[in-house]
Subunit: 408 residues, 2 copies
């Protein structure tokens, strides 16, 4: 059987999973690729660190040159996180003639244009299935399986940490800080979970999907975003009372003006498929003009789900499918974007508003007047009696459809 | 821009949808394929029949030779239903050097081995995404995106007609015959719905997925199957009372012995994702060793969803991805099957049993004794008082886990 030599850069959680799939299940990948994917080198920074996988003699190295200088290594899984040295190594690999697979969403979202352009100039390819929604093959589905469609909307639960935290708050009625601590204990949240809970991670993934699904050229940092770190347990409870669940949704929507993008905690009617996505899972609902509505659900992170996506990309690259897809899709190309950004202020939707107000006459009148001046019509109001006299009260308002601009 | 000439055989519902996507949205397919898919010919039996799509002058023909003899036509969507002349035309197209795309599940399930072998000998390819689950790209997902995995189980709602009927019975409490008539009015069921409601359609699709996902070589007709035509509204009601929904599930499961396959009306706990798949929709839950659990949900039939899958296959074929996949997957090859069939009698599960029995002493004792003799343990029993004395009564039993053989 033919053999394609491959390498891994970075032996963290995902890297170890990829190595395990290649080494322990080599017959399987060979059967699906029609050739052996031979793990020739694994590059790490520190040779002495303990690893949770056994590599054959001579595979582990701390010299990137062992990969760069070996023309027989054709496919490299670049599994270092962060922007640098990941970006530099990515470019070095492409320059040396390798096709590259990556799981690094920040790298693709931030340096995608530069990296993809360079790959194209060099006649190389970059595959990045694992960068969005972990084990869910959303990149292949949008980039390839739905190619007869114009995608109209994407609604994604793309951050597993946020979804785990929200699910726990809903189910156990536990406070935000408590649940974050539990998520950290269980390994669902980083020691510093800021990027997960403030919407950064979801916005970077959304930017990648917007490039892929709409031909938009969007800087992830321009995507309006609100994280779940703005929520109180009270919001979760009020939402539940009204028959909703709060989900951190990343939304892309084609409108007359262009493409509307945002990441926001969103009230989803209980019973709707996205409302029922619990724990650290991800899901993406796609609406497209020919196929209608599709939903993809699965693990959005984790060692083996992510490794599954990386190895699928390595197989696709080794057999030549990635090269074709990469060439035809013209991702992040310098061509004119097919669609420009729409002003988020014009985005239409219903809004949830919670205010802590003085329990004094005229307060509700003032608020409703302010809303009325923006032509925001109120669908429902919830206000309970104060716990004791003189205490401030919680006022919860659900609006009818209006624009984000009016609400701001 | 480069041009690939394509043709369609059969201008029924799906054929018209495919023609529309190619003609009205040619820029889109060109963008996703990096080349124009040029609709050169559409072959029909009767030129005089009214069509619901406008074709350019000179495209419509009743001569298959116009396609066969034109070496410039590279990709053909063969969209005739049934086994013959579909099979003969399929082989003629392959012999004349065309790569073929089909939506004909019966043809693939019955003549797959012959057609795929011949295509391989001739260096041609066959793509069949639209043959299973309509607009859900399950063939690409299993055959390509999950290639780093060993799939362990597939649970599919693969027949939209049955699912529509069951959903209606659940929601409206309407009787089976009534709902079938409504499904026929709405176009969700054929004039003769036998193949849909007796499990044939789902078994043929399951056979295709079993080949693809497990490397099994299975004759669809050997798959044990029970249709929804065996159900009464009473069953739907009892299931509901116990907190379940009845779904027609097609199940493939890897066990020590081999692969267990069956199609059966199944009680799925309310709230589980598959229980919530309503109307004519399809869904497939996949469990695989690396990725864990994935769920795919979408339209299982219909003109444009099916056309979406066919055109995606035509693009994949035109750009060369299909050829690679077809070669590496060795579908229906003459090689030894990787896994043999397991005896359905050994399949483990819990069973629902409804009996209409005389309201006389000792009846329940007799039934429970018979179950006991097969070592079938009872989880719950439901028996209401008879409507009037001397009337037979309905006895509903849910068993604990046992084997299909013991139940039979």
């Amino acid at each position: 059987m033919e053999k394609t030599k491959v390498a891994i850069i970075g032996l963290g959680t995902v890297g170890s999973g990829v190595a395990r799939l290649l080494l322990d299940f080599g017959d399987r990948t060979a059967r699906h690729a029609g050739r052996t994917l031979w793990l020739e080198k694994v590059v790490v920074r520190d040779l002495k660190r303990a690893r949770d996988c056994d590599l054959p003699e001579g595979v582990l190295t701390d010299q990137l040159a062992d990969v760069i200088d070996d023309p027989e290594i054709k496919v490299v899984a670049q599994l270092i996180g962060g922007l640098e040295p990941a970006r530099t190594i990515m470019l070095q690999l492409l320059e040396s003639g390798k096709d590259v697979v990556t799981a690094n969403k920040a790298l693709v979202a931030v340096h995608g244009p530069e990296i993809f352009d360079r790959a194209r100039e060099l006649g190389r390819s970059v595959a990045f299935e694992a960068s969005v929604a972990g084990g869910i093959p959303i990149i292949a589905n949008i980039g390839q399986c739905l190619s007869a469609n114009q995608i109209q909307t994407l609604h994604g639960i793309l951050n597993g940490t946020s979804n785990f935290i929200l699910s726990k708050m809903h189910e156990d009625g536990a406070a935000y800080d408590e649940v974050v601590a539990e998520a950290q204990r269980l390994g669902y949240a980083e020691a510093d979970p800021a990027m997960d809970v403030d919407g950064t991670d979801a916005a970077q993934k959304l930017a990648i999907l917007a490039h892929l699904g709409f031909g938009a050229r969007v800087d992830w940092d321009d995507i309006p975003r609100t994280g779940i770190d703005t929520l109180d347990l009270a919001d979760v409870r009020y939402a539940q009372k009204m028959g909703y669940r709060i989900k951190l949704l990343a939304v892309a929507q084609l409108v007359d003006e262009g493409i509307e993008l945002h990441v926001s905690p969103t009230l989803v009617k209980a019973g709707r498929p996205l409302a029922e996505v619990g724990g650290p899972f991800n899901a993406i609902r796609v609406e497209a003009d020919a196929v209608g509505q599709l939903l993809f659900y699965g693990p959005g992170a984790g060692q083996m789900p992510t490794a599954s996506a990386v190895v699928a990309d390595m197989i696709d690259t080794a057999v030549g499918r990635t090269a074709i897809t990469f060439r035809t899709l013209e991702l992040w190309s310098n061509r004119q974007a097919r669609v420009g950004p729409a002003d988020y202020a014009h985005a239409r939707g219903r809004f949830y508003l919670r205010a802590t107000v003085d329990d004094s006459p005229g307060v509700l009148a003032q608020i409703t007047k302010a809303l009325g001046e923006q032509e925001i019509s109120i669908a429902s109001v919830l206000q309970h009696e104060p716990e004791s006299e003189g205490q401030p009260v919680q006022l919860v308002i659900m609006t009818h459809e209006t624009t984000a601009g009016a609400m701001m």
